[in-house]
Every structure is written in C-alpha cells, then in structure tokens.
Symmetry: none
DNA sequence: CGGAAAAGTTTCCTATAGTAAACATATGGC
DNA sequence: GCCATATGTTTACTATAGGAAACTTTTCCG
C-alpha cells in the first residue's frame, strides 16, 4: 500500500510512516463512528411533524416505499437521497446526524440578550449570546457579543462587573474604552485580559458591527 | 481525461459575504448548502493528507475503484459509504460538505507569550500560545492552540488537567475526542465548555491545522 | 362490529452503487 | 532509455437502492 510517505521533509503530521498507517489500520481504533440510526431519526422527525410517508414522499420526491425502507433500516440511502431528505424535511445535516444525545459539554447555542435600547442607535449597542447553558456550577461565563455601538457616546455609563474578563475580537475591530487607561484599539484576533470591575465599554471601529468573544469569571456562587 | 488536477493550491473560499457572516454568527454553524461536490471535496482531503486511493481504500474499506468514481462524481455514494469515508478520513460530515472556508487570515497578535517551544510542551501535535502575561494572580488562562494532529492516533494519552475549559474554534475544524463521550465535531466558530480533568484530545479535521482558543480555569491558584 | 379510506409494508423489477480485475498512466531506480 | 512498481481509471459483473403497485394493517366513520 501507500508506501511513499512523502519525504518527511514536508510531512504535516508527526512523521507518519507506513508502519504507523499499517498499525493504525490493523488495530483499527476507529470504531468511533457512530452507530447512527439514520432511519430512526428520520422517523422521529417525520412523526414529530405529524407527517405521513406520503407527505414526506411529496416533500422529498422519494417513493413511499423507499422512505419506509429507510426508516426501517432496510436500505442505506444514497447520498442524493439523503440530500432530498434534508431539504424535504427542512432540516440540516447536523440535525439529521446528531440524535437527541446531547453532550455534557454545551455547544454554543443561541441565547440572545440585548443590552441597551440604543438611544442614539436604532439597535441595541450590545447583543450578547451565551455560549453555554447550565452555568450554575461553572466557573466561567463565555459569551459572544455583537458590538453595534459606533461611538463612545452611546454609553450612558461604564460597564462594570466583579471579576476578570478575557476578550478576543472575532470579527471586525473595536476600541476598548476603560476607566483607567487610554482607549485601546483591538483588531481581528487581538485579545486582552483585564479586571472587569474597572469600567469598560466597547465600540466597533469597523464598517460593520464587531463581534467579540468574552469569558468572564464568576464571582457570585461557589 | 486530464481533468485538470484540482490545483491543490486549494481554491478556497467563496468570498465570505456579509450575509454569510451574519448567518454564521447567528447560528454558530454554517447552513447546509445543497449543490455540493462531494467527490471533489473528498479528493481535496485525500490529497491534502498525501493519501493515495489505496490508502483511503484501506482506511475506509471501500474499493479503490469506488473511491475513484466518487471523486469523479460518477456515482452517488450510499450513506453507509459516506459514513465509511467520514470515519476513514477522520472528518465529520459538515466538514465534508462544506467547501473549505478559511479566511479570518492571520490574526493580529498582541501580548503573546510563547509556550511549547519544545520545552514545556514537547508535543508536536499542539502548539500553545499564551494570550496573557502575568498570569500569576489571574483566575483564567487564555491561550491559542494550533492543532497539528490529524489523527487520534497521534496521541499517546489523554490530555488532562484540573478545572474547566472553554474552547472555541477560530480556524478550521476539529474533532474533540474525550474520555467519556463520543467524539464531537466542532466547526469554525463552534464552542464547548467541559471539565478538563476528563481526558481529551483535539484533532484537526480541516485541510490545514486548526486553531482554537482555550480558556482554562486556574486551580493551583496563586 | 362492518366496510372504506388511509397509512404503512412487501414484492418485483429497473437503475445504479460497489467490487474485482483488467487496463492505462505515471513514477522511480538501474 | 528500459523495466518494475505504484497510482488512477475503466470494464464487466454482482449487490443493492429506488420506484410502482400489490398487499397488509390501521384508522375512523356508520
């Protein structure tokens, strides 16, 4: 097989040799692949929408019989069929592939909180999106913030909260105003760590809104 | 047929428009796009890993000829075949379906302290970059990690450290393997919060290295 | 209980995905 | 150059997915 691991000179990986590959395959530690019962999932979705096979047939263009077999795991649909299912059931693939099994870890999820009714702005100056639920027993609070403010004047007062904050600019660029320091310009990818009980405020200096990731420490509980 | 080698210089990225960006932020995950050239994508991934069809055949259990036809869009693979591909190529489906989007270019870097120049972190699979100095009295440790690992086999053992960790994918996409849960695929912009004393490991599932932002809690305090 | 219509399953056939093997085309010594 | 080997494609065949219609089960009216 393979052979020819290209000269290691430019190997991207940690020296993958033939031997490694062989072993990897032999020992086959790949069974990580999900058992993934596609059919069951399709049925779930269909029933939860109170659709009959005929309905889904109409929506997807797949035959009633085909759908039945898919749901009963009698056949493995072709990829084109899967695509029809996706568009027909009006879902996206991650949904189709990840059954209810929710991880312990919490995937970033929408949980919008709007701050500031925007006096000088039609839109809120901040738009927070929590990136983790079940924050109760956690020690950090991660959230993504869309910064609409375009002028320091948009702020009636400093933002201030106990603890520390780590911040990284994900999109656009911002100006970080703070109580005790000179305004600091942060571009895409830049980050900063500061005491958040020091008054602070963010302003987008890019054309569009800026988006920043913030992680704050929790001080209340424990 | 001389089908023009897919200029492995990787044709990337359909310009990220504002709309795209907006969607990405809203959902945290890119919407599923229909007209996708699965085969082309498979080929990209294969070549970027310097794998031959035979290699992939070994890894996936699919015939060389089948792979060839898939890559050349001559057939639409069954879903089971797709699963084998995913497993064998060590990627996740959204990744397989999404055209390589990589941009966000070089991150402007400020306050960097390097860690893992071979001393404190001899691992070749990770490259950590601290995002804050003077960590002494801080309660969180933010750092950016370049994930070079492309296979779970690159890890001799789990990574494990007391406390909690928040993680966000900044570039590329990864597979998060963990001790107690199923591997979890995270794409650009996705994030997760987990107990870091649970063994974990990251693998890049994108063409190039992945870059993630991590924020860990400090437990050794002071 | 009927009986009829609707929903789901199975049968049978056709279209096509998957495979092995032959073929074609690079690639690398010597 | 020449041969040997490796890699990718095409061919010929088998296995199986997809669809139409027959069949079975359920639903729901009277």
């Amino acid at each position: 097989m393979a052979a020819s691991a290209p000269d290691d000179s430019e190997a991207l990986m940690s020296t993958p040799t033939d031997k490694d590959a062989a072993v990897r395959i032999a020992s086959g530690r790949k069974p990580f692949v999900e058992p993934l019962k596609l059919g069951e999932r399709v049925k779930q979705i269909r029933l939860s929408n109170h659709w009959t096979l005929e309905d889904v047939s109409q929506r997807t263009g797949l035959a009633r019989s085909t759908l039945s077999k898919i749901e009963n795991e009698q056949i493995s649909p072709t990829f084109t069929a899967v695509q029809k299912l996706i568009s027909g059931l009006n879902i996206d693939l991650p949904q189709l592939l990840s059954p209810p099994k929710r991880q312990s870890g919490t995937l970033g999820r929408r949980d919008l909180t709007r701050v500031g009714d925007g006096k000088s702005h039609p839109t809120p100056t901040y738009e927070h999106e929590l990136l983790s639920w079940q924050l109760a027993q956690k020690r950090m609070i991660p959230f993504k913030t869309r910064v609409r403010a375009r002028s320091f004047d948009d702020f009636p007062d400093w933002v201030r909260h106990d603890g520390e904050e780590f911040l990284m600019v994900l999109e656009g660029s911002i100006q970080l105003y703070s109580e005790f320091y000179e305004p600091l310009a942060l571009g895409n990818g830049d980050s900063i760590y500061f005491d958040s009980d020091m008054g602070h405020a963010l302003v987008s200096t890019s054309e569009d809104d800026a988006v920043v990731l913030s992680v704050c420490t929790r001080t209340d509980t424990d």
